[in-house]
């Protein structure tokens, strides 16, 4: 079977770079140890090899579709939901008192990474169920928790997020779905939602929709939005399930992730759709954003996973495909020689290394964000605030870098195969179609960039940024203890100074009230800033690799660690310098994209 993840790289990052075992000292995680996590990851890999990877292409060729009011999906969706309940994947990070296993989210991210790399069309179903159940657990009353959460954690019922409406995409303040209060303790809801991932199919007995709506008479804008539980089938007094006037009106056929259904749902067409308020009225968006932040990490993980799978597919091809001859120092090729494998060509190696630094850099970024999430749960006071701020700052980066740069990585993977990469006989074209949605799901790259520059960089007077700079300085200090890493430590330090220079130019624009201009190149800033962050993470990986080489512990062969140092050097030669190209754009006085009175876009 073709490889789609490298388990050694995952373990290296979990155990040696991000030191998963340091979490086990906290009471919340004390029942865990590395052995247990490794058995779990192996189990997930077995499941992925046997059930997920073999149907990955079939799910693209036979996509989910709508017929007679129903959504038809691949049977693997049903088996996966059942297995995710049985293995404890859906319940993994929940509190024990809510039926969970209190696993560190870092370890669960590793498990999802394996499964999504095997088949990215399936894991959204349990992922959204996890997210919806977390919202109920965090903000719902005891009735909602008891009535819905256990069946969701077991995989028997599925969960979704219902935000988008036909007239309101990213602009949630414009939603019109309305909830009418009744005297019975529930609301009657009416409205339509589109782009609802995993919204319906035959393999789950019930679907629990977490829906945003306005209570009749609520104030306009985002402050009038409330959160509701709306089951597809409501629970009758005798415990049986009855239809709840949720109609599946259609589906959306997508260019990728075609096995992951995207639905159009109509609520209350017959004025009989009951909804239960979650938490307090008008606080729905705040609650939903808790789930959205987790979901953004999950989408970043989706980009990472596809980039990993594409890298391994193109690497395998490059190791098997003979073509052309290497250029000799004379500048000529010897046609009498046998053709070489394409992995011997410098440009192919460049494309492979580019993929490697993007996907492994993304893995490190996502594991680190998850670690801050895990630590934020168990620390107190200043330490807790630090972890929260770092998580907040890195969340838009962790959503964007693996999805935007991941797409570039997959594109390079396809290029490795040349014309065959563009043909449906090979899988690379599917990966490229699949990853494209990731920069759109859960807030587009543009929205993430506004969040980063407009909110996260400046929050608490820039405290998160200062904390991140301290972390980077610490890595630079460690790198300076190795002669071979000193030049790279210096380069990272220079790029930190460049970042400060860019911010010194941008932040005064906001202070002067030129807010639109301040944010107009937020996406360029995201590209600039995320390159710095991933450069730091690569230097950190190289430090750990060097430390392991010196220690002689040899958890992995020396070549393994040397390959990490080599990849860091590649990142610093080919990727980090791009910041210098972006800085002049960010600090330019020229304003070309803000709408003026005279339209210039013809």
């Amino acid at each position: 079977m073709a490889e789609y993840v490298n388990m050694d790289t995952l373990r290296f990052q979990l155990e040696q770079v991000h030191q998963l075992d340091t979490l086990f000292q906290y009471p919340r995680y004390q029942e865990y140890d590395l052995e247990a996590i490794n058995i779990f990851l192996d189990a997930v890999k077995d499941f992925s090899d046997q059930e997920l990877y073999p149907v990955f292409r079939e799910m693209d060729e036979k996509p989910a579709y709508y017929e007679d009011g129903k959504i038809i999906v691949h049977p693997t969706v049903g088996r996966t939901m059942e297995k995710m309940g049985e293995l404890g994947v859906i319940a993994a990070t929940f509190d024990q008192e809510n039926g969970g296993l209190q696993m560190p989210s870092m370890a669960l991210l590793g498990a999802y990474f394996i499964m999504e790399a095997a088949n990215n069309h399936v894991m959204g179903y349990p992922g959204l169920t996890d997210g919806a159940a977390k919202l109920i657990t965090a903000f719902g009353n005891e009735y909602l928790k008891e009535a819905y959460v256990p069946n969701m954690l077991s995989g028997q019922w599925a969960g979704t997020m219902c935000l988008t409406e036909p007239q309101a995409g990213s602009s949630l303040s414009d939603i019109t779905t309305t909830a009418y209060p009744t005297d019975e303790g529930y609301y009657q809801v009416k409205g339509q939602k589109i782009f609802i991932s995993g919204g319906d199919h035959e393999y789950n007995e019930n679907f629990i929709h977490l829906l945003l709506a306005r209570i009749e008479g609520a104030p306009a804008g985002t402050k009038g939005i409330s959160l509701f539980v709306v089951p597809k089938k409501r629970i009758a007094e005798d415990g049986s399930l009855a239809p709840n006037d949720v109609i599946t009106a259609g589906d959306f056929q997508k260019m990728g992730q075609r096995g992951y259904c995207t639905t159009h749902l109509v609520f209350g067409e017959n004025d009989d759709c009951r909804a239960w308020l979650v938490g307090e009225p008008h606080k729905g968006l705040k609650y939903m954003f808790q789930m959205m932040n987790d979901a953004r990490i999950s989408v970043g993980r989706g980009g990472l996973s596809i980039a990993s799978a594409a890298y391994h597919a193109s690497l395998q091809y490059a190791k098997e495909r003979p073509q052309g001859r290497r250029v000799m120092d004379s500048g000529k090729k010897d046609p009498r020689q046998e053709p070489v494998l394409i992995i011997e060509h410098a440009d192919v190696r460049r494309m492979l290394l580019l993929q490697k630094v993007i996907y492994e850099g993304s893995l490190s970024l996502l594991l680190l964000a998850s670690k801050y999430h895990d630590l934020e749960k168990v620390t107190e006071g200043e330490e807790k605030q630090k972890n929260r701020l770092l998580l907040e700052l890195l969340t838009p980066v962790a959503k964007t870098y693996p999805t935007e740069k991941g797409r570039e990585a997959v594109d390079n993977g396809l290029q490795v195969l040349g014309g065959y990469g563009y043909c449906s006989d090979f899988v690379l074209q599917q990966y490229l179609r699949d990853i494209r949605i990731m920069a759109i799901y859960e807030g587009t790259t543009g929205i993430q960039s506004l969040d980063l520059l407009g909110r996260k960089i400046t929050m608490d007077n820039g405290k998160a940024l200062k904390l991140l700079a301290q972390e980077m300085q610490q890595t630079i200090g460690s790198a300076l203890t190795f002669d071979g890493l000193k030049p790279y430590a210096g380069q990272l330090g220079e790029k930190m100074k460049l970042s400060q220079k860019v911010l010194d130019f941008l932040l005064p624009l906001a202070m002067k009230g030129e807010y639109e201009r301040f944010l107009s190149d937020a996406t360029v800033f995201m590209d600039f800033f995320s390159t710095l962050v991933v450069g730091w993470l690569w230097l950190d990986m190289a430090v750990v690799a060097k430390q392991e080489l010196v220690s002689g512990r040899e958890a992995y062969p020396a070549e393994f660690y040397e390959s990490k140092v080599h990849a860091m050097r590649f990142f610093f030669k080919y990727e980090l310098p791009k910041m210098e190209g972006l800085a002049p754009t960010l600090m330019s006085e020229e304003v070309l994209t803000i709408l003026k009175e005279k339209e210039v876009i013809a």
Binding site: A36, N38, E86
Partner: protein, 246 residues
């Protein structure tokens, strides 16, 4: 029913196999290990199915050092009730059989399970040796096992077909593909495994009667030669003179 399952450690199926010390020793550097799939997927799972259907207990036994406890823990996570580890680095199949027999002889197990072979040395030796030492019947390569009271109906793989056998407990049985379906441990099982008993037993003296003198890897595959379908004479010549198969 009181059931014993012997589990061994083997290199992971994709591990690169190499030898050191002038080809006299297996080179374990960089090799990941797993529980022998025939022991795990078929022997252990069928034992668990019988326990679940009829009650009783499943004990797993392994001969190896403490570093192999991960493999034992996986067996416990899949559902075994307890484990025994004979604390020794086994030099041969005879040594393993001797250790397991020593432990099992006074424990009155109804059935002793093991995989039909380990996927590294493929010796299929421990099962028959163990049965002989315990003075029990031995059925090899079982693909089906059903119990009626203390009588077992077994279907076993034989060259070119199946054999249907009956045997009464106690007996030793080696498991082949088809006896059960692989079970993947869940997280609750993995956590519970830590709390299940693992007894460490000192080995008894046992002599090895045969020693491995040297290992040889199969020759590397040569380049593929494409022959024009019209040129059968050339194909026959190559098969005769180069491949030497006709």
């Amino acid at each position: 029913m009181k059931l014993l399952v012997c589990v061994s450690k083997t290199p992971e199926t994709t591990a690169k196999i190499a030898f050191t010390n002038d080809n006299t020793e297996f080179d374990s550097s960089g090799v990941q290990y797993i529980m022998n799939p025939y022991d795990e997927w078929y022997a252990l799972v069928r034992a668990l199915e019988l326990k679940e259907a009829q009650g009783g207990s499943v004990t797993i036994i392994h001969v190896g050092p403490a570093a192999n406890d991960t493999i034992i823990r996986k067996g416990l996570a899949i559902g075994a009730d307890e484990a025994v580890r004979i604390d020794a680095e086994p030099p041969s199949a005879l040594y393993v059989a001797r250790q397991v027999a020593e432990y099992a002889k006074n424990e009155n197990f109804d059935i002793v399970f093991l995989g039909k072979e380990s996927i590294d040395y493929n010796g299929s030796e421990v099962g028959p040796m163990l049965a002989e030492m315990l003075g029990l019947p031995f059925v090899s390569h079982a693909t089906r096992l059903e119990m009626e009271g203390n009588k077992a109906m077994i279907v076993a793989d034989i060259d070119g077909g199946d054999a249907q056998l009956e045997v009464e407990t106690p007996f030793v049985i080696s498991a082949a593909k088809g006896l059960a379906e692989q079970r993947i441990p869940n997280m609750r099982g993995i956590m519970m495994a830590k709390r299940k008993p693992l007894k460490v037993v000192e080995p008894v003296e046992a002599e090895g009667l045969a020693v491995a003198v040297r290992f040889e890897l199969p020759p590397e595959k040569g380049d593929v030669k494409l022959i024009d379908p019209e040129n059968m004479d050339e194909l026959v010549r190559l098969l005769h003179e180069e491949a030497k198969v006709i």
